[in-house]
Amino acid sequence: MTSSTPGAPRSTGHIVDEDATGIPSFEAAGGDWSEIAEEAARLGEERIVVNMGPQHPSTHGVLRLMLEIDGETVTEARAGIGYLHTGIEKNMEFRTWTQGVTFCTRMDYVAPISSEAAYCLAVEKLLGITDDVPERATVIRVLMLELNRIASHLVCLASGGNELGATTIMTTGFTAREEVLKIFELITGLRMNHAYIRPGGVAQDIPPGALDTIRESLVTIRHYMRQLEDLMLANPILQGRMKGVGYLNLSGCMALGMTGPVLRSAGLPYDVRKSAPYCGYETYDFEIPVADTGDAWGRMVVRIEEIYQSMHLVEQTLDRLQASGPGPVMVADKKIAWPAQLAIGSDGMGNSLDHIREIMGTSMEALIHHFKLVTEGFRVPAGQVFQSVEAPRGELGVHLVSDGGTKPYRAHFRDPSFNNLQAVSVMCEGGLLADVVVAVASLDPVLGGVDR
């Protein structure tokens, strides 16, 4: 079957319609670039619009950049998003409050725990049980949030290095991240998209021996961090490509509503963990790393420093968990708490045999209660809240409206990447084409959060 056979698949042709009349457009088929360049020169076209399309190795996901270039200089840069729009917010309106966690966790898939934490804190605010969440659950939440921050920054540094052509940075960063993923798998059962933080607490307690495993992993991560620092901080190529690139000063950041490492690289030490603390962050000892260069290099340095601060926080949580001993990890109110105290069984799946024995053998009421809690879910009093957390990318806000029912009436996630991506135009216009890649990498957008 060849492409001339009727009905056989043919490649999608170049679209030329009435919107494109008068504008010369070229489609490169491979091997013909010199002819296209000659043709463009003959037509006197000096400005070319290049589509860095949704499928591209270095756009951090399905981001479309429309760049008008004049030689190597970018004169106009526009970002097109929406290629990963999943309708998560609308889908959450048809699922119970607890099922909403599994949906919101898949928005920012590199830092799923942050999205879960923000959502669950918002639900708890609506329920009014913020103070009733057990201490152990709160400390475990901080542990998971900071581990997630380490993993997310490692992805940013690793993929940033990869896009600049330094593949060893990518392999080192991802190997370090594997240590964190092993811990996540040990505690939650999954490497990504955990749905571990639930309204009222966490899904299950950390297994015995996990604390020592985490301490060992921290040692390994520090070892990989030393390797990464050797590769990155004194590297003249990285310095040349990142210093002065993607510059956005403080007034630009504030006008565009930037938060996270981008804002902190411009000199403002704004961190939600310090300014509007949640999960007991005011009781931990940590610092906010700040740079004053406002460029991609400053952001990279800030992220590396934040990894160290997060490891310090993880050690503090491990000490607290060790000192406090076993305890409940779900709120005591049985009308809200997830019915079964889950534990990972021999088949790797979460179940709780004692609980099943009780509801199937002993108590009909317990069975009905379990059934109603899982299928109907709990009801949340009507009202609206806004809860922010400091996600690795910036301030993640959740606007949650309840109508008194078992499902969210409206869940809106103010994702930091959605906001930060507006700076692409400001950062890239006037710079070189190669700097676009560096600037976008320094913003660290995750398109799942951008498009939701």
Binding site: N91, K125, L268, E376, D403, G405, F418, Q422
Partner: protein
């Protein structure tokens, strides 16, 4: 027989959008919906009794002073600044709601720019950072169906507040606040894309998440979820929005 209209006294007699069950001077309630039936079959064949339940959905209404904490001070300063610049406070801010530790100002759409400017520029308010605009759709709250919600943060004073502008479905126009907070550029585009609220004065109000030629505004309540029936071995299950569910 009294000539005064009988005030509704039970949930089933309240209609959505109607303010107040006045019960001896308590603040009025913000009724957004009255629902009959709670689960399962509707229309016929309901033996569970759920079908007869009537639920009144009430969001927290305006709060009476004192609001508590720093809320009073901020509202007073805002009133002062607005009056000085010629905007009557009661016309601009229609009501103040304090609920669950958060301050919400319901703002009339004509004055949203003035309120935003006052909040951003006055040194005692200094809400420099805006976390964006989003929408909400309350289809049964006639006359105020579409809400645009702004969340503002004061980095200097560590304050957070919410502005809410409500517009009717047929006339969903709100002045664009991009001139005050440039970050609202993409947020307003997203709110237009998902709810159909038009922001007048926005530099380029176009679809951002959905394809450019997509019809309809997906996150409105009258837009279906759009799923397909799920096929199992021997059965099909309808998509999530068409299954029986607790309302």
């Amino acid at each position: 027989m009294s000539d005064a209209p009988q005030e509704p006294t039970s949930g089933s007699e309240l209609e959505a959008g109607q303010d107040a069950v006045s019960a001896g001077g308590r603040p009025p309630l913000d009724v957004i919906d009255v629902r009959t039936g709670q689960f399962g079959a509707s229309g016929s064949g309901d033996t569970s009794g759920y079908g007869g339940l009537v639920t009144t959905v009430v969001l927290p209404g305006p709060t009476a002073r004192p609001y508590g904490g720093w809320f009073d001070e901020v509202v007073d300063i805002l009133a002062e600044v607005l009056e000085e610049s010629g905007t009557p406070f009661d016309a601009a801010v229609t009501s103040v709601v304090v609920d669950r530790g958060e301050l919400t100002l319901n703002v009339a759409r004509e004055h949203i720019l003035a309120v935003c400017r006052a909040l951003r520029d006055d040194q005692d308010l200094r809400f420099e950072l805006s976390l964006g605009v989003s929408g909400a759709h309350y289809p049964h709250d006639t006359g105020r169906e579409l809400h645009a919600v702004y969340h503002l943060v004061s980095v200097t004073h560590s304050h957070r507040l919410r502005l809410e502008v409500a517009v009717a479905d047929g006339d969903a126009h709100i002045p664009s606040t991009v001139a005050v907070y440039p970050t609202h550029d993409w947020h307003e585009r997203e709110t237009w894309d998902f709810f159909g609220i038009e922001f007048d004065g926005h530099p380029a109000l176009a679809r951002i998440e959905m394809p450019d030629d997509w019809p309809g505004h997906p996150q409105r309540k009258d837009y279906p979820l759009g799923g397909i029936p799920v096929e199992y071995k021997g059965a099909t299950v309808p998509p999530p929005d068409q299954r029986r569910s607790y309302r």
